[in-house]
Symmetry: C2
Subunit: 254 residues, 2 copies
């Protein structure tokens, strides 16, 4: 049996706690939550203790540090258990910011919101450990939760996080821009939902390169110029830059 503490009370802490508590196997047992503000914690369970300090807590085998990137180092220094494996869950942070002999990374590639249930089976998890002796057990838990687990280097994890910013955060912002453009003509964003759905469903069959359509890739300068003329300055800049980039990608790869 591997005993576990989670530090933090944010989205990742909540979803990870929920997932471990829901396991049928009792090979991994969540014992404690340590959160500065205990009232933020909303998951209650008979076996689970919620604390706001480290004193008087029993050591566990593992500690998941689910706090902001810049706080990971400080939090790791406060953990008083010499033999515990300390893990952080950040995409862009080196395993070595953790001040402990046994340290690792458990990076779930997903956007978490407390109110939205997550499908752990589908969430890719990238693992890293400084001591390979810990790997088998870590893989065991990861594979219980998800169907997509891999051990990645720091460089690979950074790259994954970077790509996620393009494919999730920036994509969502393009939806936001679209929403604003439509509002000016009293059109609902709902108009776009079927197209958005089709655009992402395509990716299950073809690569993004093959899936590219639109005025830029077919070099339809008539439509491009017409559309540029409809846009406010900032959005015009984005349109121009992405159009150029599409044309470069498809030119240079031909």
């Amino acid at each position: 049996m591997t005993t576990i503490t989670i530090v933090g009370s944010g989205n990742v802490a909540h979803h990870l706690a929920q997932a471990i508590l829901s396991l049928e196997s009792n090979a991994f047992v969540l014992k404690q939550i340590v959160a500065r503000n205990k009232s933020n914690w909303t998951i209650h369970h008979s076996q689970l203790q919620v604390a706001d300090q480290w004193e008087n807590l029993s050591p566990t085998d593992w500690v998941f540090i689910c706090v902001k990137d810049e706080a990971i180092h400080e939090v790791s220094k406060q953990i008083p258990w010499k033999n515990a494996l300390l893990l952080h869950t950040s995409g862009s942070t080196s395993v070595d910011v953790i001040s402990a002999e046994q340290r690792g990374v458990w990076y779930p590639l997903q956007t978490f919101s407390k109110s939205t249930p997550v499908k752990w089976k589908e969430i890719p998890i990238a693992l890293e450990v400084n001591d390979s002796g810990n790997l088998a057990k870590l893989l065991e838990l990861a594979n219980l939760l998800s169907d997509h687990v891999a051990v990645l280097s720091y460089e690979q994890r950074l790259r994954l996080h970077l790509a996620a910013v393009f494919s999730c955060n920036f994509v969502n912002h393009l939806y936001h821009i679209s929403d604003q453009l439509l509002q000016k003509e009293q059109l609902s964003f709902e108009w776009l939902l079927p197209l958005i759905k089709a655009t992402t469903e395509k990716l299950q069959y073809v690569s993004p390169k093959e899936a590219q359509t639109g005025p830029a890739v077919r070099n339809d300068s008539n439509t491009i110029n017409k559309q540029l003329a409809q846009l406010p300055e900032k959005e015009r800049e984005i349109y121009q830059l992405l159009t150029n980039s599409i044309q470069q990608y498809h030119l240079k790869n031909e």
Copy 2:
């Protein structure tokens, strides 16, 4: 009964023909395809004649002109039937480029590929006619095919097409950039699919503004600078511009 001719042999022509031929009602009957290159046409049906010129064809009530935007005007001039309603299917073209007394627009908001089946029920269709006498019948066919039909002005249709470029074509290019970024670290694009799915599924519950996450919106300059440093010049420009835009949108709307 309304009889129909379709001009063109591209993606829109094929999917529209398929949809009309599949209707249970016989209120709308597809009689003819007119395509410059008849061998491009792949849908065969007992009631359907495929021709490469207008001579010797019987007039139909409607003609869908499914050709490139810049060819619509010329094609409309070749159609020898004075009483037919001529329709184009373009998002960015005025109804008035059609040279005919009765003219209209039938704009399906979707990316069509011949090999991918489309769910017409989900595809929004924007209609426009110059003579409102034609509207009832046009709405009747549109409503048979789709659950999302509306009469839009040219301005609104232009706006819809513009927003579609942001939410489909540009979004897909961000996937393409992500794919390239991952390839450099020997990572498969598959890593991102669950995140991409979750990002679009969110939109059924919250607005794009509310859905925004990531380093830009939480003003995490540490991560932003780290990520900028990992990018080649052109991608860095895109990262910087979209990050600035996210911060402006969330600042100015607060």
